[in-house]
């Protein structure tokens, strides 16, 4: 009996198990039906890749063919869903981003935020060029670098940070300086370039390479509380290039780096973020939204947003206008968009009369440093031996109370940060307003109203005057300028070589370096 009852119980359980298994099977097939939308869409896009002529017209490399059968896995739907549900993105847009190869040149204040958002957005391949090492003075704005990365190559540091944001993209480190010789080879594998560098010569070089390779270029820059952003050579061959906008380089003495002029972290950060937006816009414009009308469960006429997309693509290039965005953080109207002239008919790089070729770049015959007037060459006047004193010698004089008049020519903000005891502050801009002594012919060199002898100058001829600044450049100008003024006669006037930087390194290590 017991055995029999166990047997019938066993049978009941078997029936129940069968019922549950059927339920589970039904549930699973239902779930599959629900997820069919995704599967279907992916399939449509696989098919879509058969006719990718448009992409090639837009500058994608034909050798990218093997990358084009791109799909998204379920984790990627989760990860990118928030941007994919935007009409500007969609599945087609997301797949386009995944197919794309973007090169960032510079892993600094612009490159860090730009790369972070591009990595986050799911760009398929991200290359980064930089040859610098992470320094403590980078950390206030270069947000992908952290304390423990100081001393590491920037490309290594940024890629390790980007992987923590999104491990999916393929990251390529170019741990070298971009040169005319290697720029073509470096850029040609990519679809789009971001110029995140910090000098005029690299900006001309990158623009030239992008024109020659038919790559759009997102270019931005920042200094102090200002930023500028422009998308160049977009679409390739139609939009102006950097040389169209700035045919002549600025005089080198007018060029300031962030190290010289200073920069507010979020200002350069904002420009970097805007660069990533512009990069996404360029890439998304290549996604073929026409294909969106096809999903079987949606009729085209209930998606009016899409109806607009088609005519947009047909827009004639003649009507396209080109703009630059300028940002002045402390201005009442911080963001402004200004309309640019556009392509220049005589442009050396992108016009029919262009003279710059891939060969001239590759063989190094283009000297961008010389074109831009040489970095700092002629920027600061040469001084004779007896117009210069080194920090150790000056320190000895100070110890013997023979320090004379020590004039710090930094601006008042920097003087307020740290200054040598008993130094006085006369900013270089004030020194430059000194009158210039009339020359022999009695012609007044300066046309401004004559300035009376400034109160800070010694009235006797025995007090030596020493000029100091942060790095020993402006102090040289001060020496030369004071001599030209003819306001002091007979006094020793000297530049303290290497400035406060040298002072801190060789005399007083407790003096702040910045």
């Amino acid at each position: 009996m017991e055995k029999f009852s166990l047997g019938s119980e066993n049978l009941d359980l078997r029936i129940r198990i069968a019922e549950l298994e059927k339920e589970l099977a039904d549930y699973r097939s239902g779930a599959a039906k629900n997820s069919n939308a995704n599967g279907h869409a992916t399939h449509v896009l696989d098919g879509e890749d058969d006719d990718d002529d448009d992409d090639e017209q837009n500058g994608l490399n034909p050798q990218d063919q093997d990358d084009k059968a791109v799909k998204l896995d379920l984790d990627e739907f989760r990860r990118y869903g928030r941007q994919m549900i935007m009409t500007e993105v969609g599945l087609d847009g997301q797949l386009q981003l995944k197919r794309s190869k973007v090169l960032l040149i510079g892993a600094g204040g612009l490159g860090c935020p730009a790369a972070a958002y591009l990595a986050g957005a799911g760009i398929g391949t991200i290359g980064i060029v930089d040859h610098d090492l992470v320094e403590p003075s980078n950390l206030h704005r270069q947000i992908m670098h952290t304390v423990e990365k100081v001393g590491q190559p920037k490309v290594k540091s940024i890629i390790s940070s980007l992987k923590r944001i999104n491990p999916n993209p393929k990251y390529i480190a170019h741990n070298y300086a971009l040169t005319p010789e290697n720029s073509i080879e470096t850029l040609e594998k990519y679809d789009l370039v971001l110029d995140c560098t910090d000098s005029p010569q690299t900006r001309y070089m990158i623009s030239d390479a992008c024109v020659l390779l038919g790559k759009p270029l997102v270019s931005a820059s920042a200094l102090r509380s200002d930023g500028q952003l422009v998308v160049l050579n977009n679409p390739p061959g139609e939009g102006p290039c950097y040389r169209c906008v700035f045919p002549k380089p600025p005089p080198p003495e007018s060029v300031l780096s962030c190290g010289e002029g200073g920069v507010l972290g979020p200002v350069v950060g904002a420009m970097g973020v805007l660069m990533s937006t512009e990069a996404l816009k360029v890439l998304l414009s290549r996604a073929d939204k026409k294909k969106r009308r096809k999903p079987a469960h949606l009729s085209p006429d209930i998606r009016p947003a899409d109806a607009k997309d088609t005519p947009k693509r047909e827009e004639s290039p003649e009507q396209k206008k080109f703009y630059m965005t300028i940002y002045s953080a402390f201005s009442d109207t911080p963001f402004r968009t200004i309309r640019m002239f556009g392509k220049r008919k005589t442009c050396q790089a992108c016009s029919p009369v262009a003279t710059i070729t891939k060969e001239s770049m590759k063989n190094g015959s283009l000297d961008y440093v010389a074109f831009c007037g040489g970095k700092g060459s002629g920027k600061y006047p040469p001084l004779t031996k007896d117009e210069v004193i080194n920090v150790e010698e000056y320190n000895k004089l100070r110890e013997n109370k023979e320090g004379g008049l020590l004039v710090d020519v930094r601006d008042d903000v920097q003087f307020g940060m740290c200054a040598l005891e008993n130094s006085i502050n006369v900013p270089i801009t004030t020194i430059l307003t000194l009158p210039i002594a009339p020359d022999k012919d009695g012609i007044d060199g300066g046309e401004r109203t004559p300035v009376p002898i400034p109160s800070w100058l010694p009235r006797d001829t025995s007090t030596p005057i020493y000029f100091i600044c942060r790095l020993g450049n402006d102090s040289r100008i001060a020496v030369q300028r004071l001599k030209k003024s003819g306001l002091v006669k007979g006094n020793v006037i000297k530049d303290i070589k290497g400035g406060l930087w040298e002072w801190s390194r060789k005399v007083d290590k407790t003096f702040p370096l910045y």
Partner: protein, 106 residues
């Protein structure tokens, strides 16, 4: 005497304000005619700014060969001056002229 002067606004950005004692905006009544009787144009404005408003003595940081130096964008009412005739553009009342130095930092 409105015919004698043209009221315009000059804005300075990208670091050029440092040449003008940190003034980012100048409201100027520009003489309508130059010394030689020509209508005031942008090149005249550049010279006028150097003489009357610039505090820094390095004139070459702003003006070279009678016009703005390379590396300064000039915007006439928010459009590139090349769309308007560059230095020859004759100023109109209430124009806003923006001088922006190109930046290279990053």
């Amino acid at each position: 005497m409105s015919a004698d002067t043209i009221p315009i606004t000059v804005e300075l950005a990208g670091g050029l304000e440092l040449l003008f004692d940190n003034e980012k905006k100048l409201n100027i009544d520009l003489p309508a005619k130059t010394g030689t009787g020509d209508a005031a144009n942008i090149n005249y404005l550049v010279d006028y700014l150097c003489v009357h408003h610039m505090k820094d003595t390095r004139r070459e940081m702003f003006e070279i060969n009678g016009t703005v130096r390379a590396g300064i964008l000039v915007l006439i009412n928010d459009a590139d001056w090349e769309l308007e005739g560059e230095g020859e553009y004759e100023l109109q009342p209430k124009d806003t002229i923006l001088f922006v130095s190109t930046l290279h930092g990053g």
